[in-house]
């Protein structure tokens, strides 16, 4: 087992175990912090796949942005000084069965399929080429995403500050 494999199993274990804790933990604040570990493990997997820019973006946007946003949401909508934080679950048994079947079938498909593997070259750094792709092949999507983000931010701000008179 090479060092690469060892690091992969380490990050995969972090990701899966904390992912399981996110969905099973009774305390919503704990769930948020386990989500932090999950996102961190995923960004480690990106590094192992040679995607350095995506990994850094994952940490900056997900951990620095979305997770903080979720924590704010938790603090604004739950009484976290209270012992009993909303931890209710509905229909656990059917969901466990259904998700188990789903997981089993996806995993077996992934393992049984004969993937045509053709390793792409690992680049020293992907940022330059990603930036070039972004302003050539994907320039329309790039601009549209900019507009979408602007609309989303305006919409979120106006929705959250709505005065009910």
């Amino acid at each position: 087992m090479s060092i690469y494999d060892f690091i992969f199993y380490l990050f995969a274990a972090i990701t899966i175990v904390s992912g399981l804790m996110v969905v099973s933990s009774g305390n919503i604040v704990r769930s948020a912090f386990y989500l932090l570990a999950t996102l961190f493990g995923i960004s480690g997997l990106y590094v192992l796949l040679g995607a350095d820019f995506v990994a850094v973006t994952q940490i900056m946007v997900y951990i620095g942005g979305i997770l903080i946003l979720l924590l704010f949401g938790v603090m604004l909508t739950s009484d976290i000084t209270h012992i009993e934080i909303k931890k209710g679950k509905v229909a656990v048994l059917p969901a466990v069965v259904g998700v188990g079947v789903l997981l089993g079938s996806i995993t077996s498909i992934m393992m049984k399929t004969n993937w045509k593997i053709e390793l792409s070259k690992i680049q020293q750094t992907t940022t330059y080429d990603l930036g070039k792709l972004l302003i050539t092949d994907y320039v329309l999507i790039f601009e549209l995403l900019g507009i979408l983000l602007l609309i989303a931010m305006i919409g979120a701000a106006s929705m959250a500050r709505r005065d009910d008179k």
Partner: protein
């Protein structure tokens, strides 16, 4: 078997996908449902990046993963604004008890 290849990444991502679906189905709190959605999006992202590495598609997969991250940010902002409004209206964010669009 223990040599890490494409399949390993795909299996990790299918685990995350299943956990996310479980959270969306089972949890009552709207914010936990949102966390489940983030898990599902991340599972898709792992697949994109893994296929980009093992399928010789250049950097297209990584770029699409970046687009998904941007969409997730927009989605989280909008969803939290909606959740805050729900909290203002109902005093809780249990998605199984919310059956009105207005008071």
């Amino acid at each position: 078997m223990f040599e890490v290849g494409l399949t390993h990444y795909l299996v990790v991502s299918s685990f995350l996908f299943a956990f996310g679906i479980y959270a969306i189905l089972v949890r009552k709190n709207a914010i936990l449902v949102l966390m489940g959605i983030e898990l599902v999006l991340n599972a898709a992202n792992i697949n994109f990046v893994a296929f980009s590495r093992y399928g010789n598609f250049g950097l297209n997969g990584q770029l699409i993963a970046l687009f998904v991250i941007i969409l997730a940010a927009a989605e989280a902002a909008i969803a939290l604004a909606i959740v805050l409004n729900i909290y203002k209206t109902f005093g809780h964010v249990n998605v199984d008890e919310i059956d009105n669009l207005k008071e």
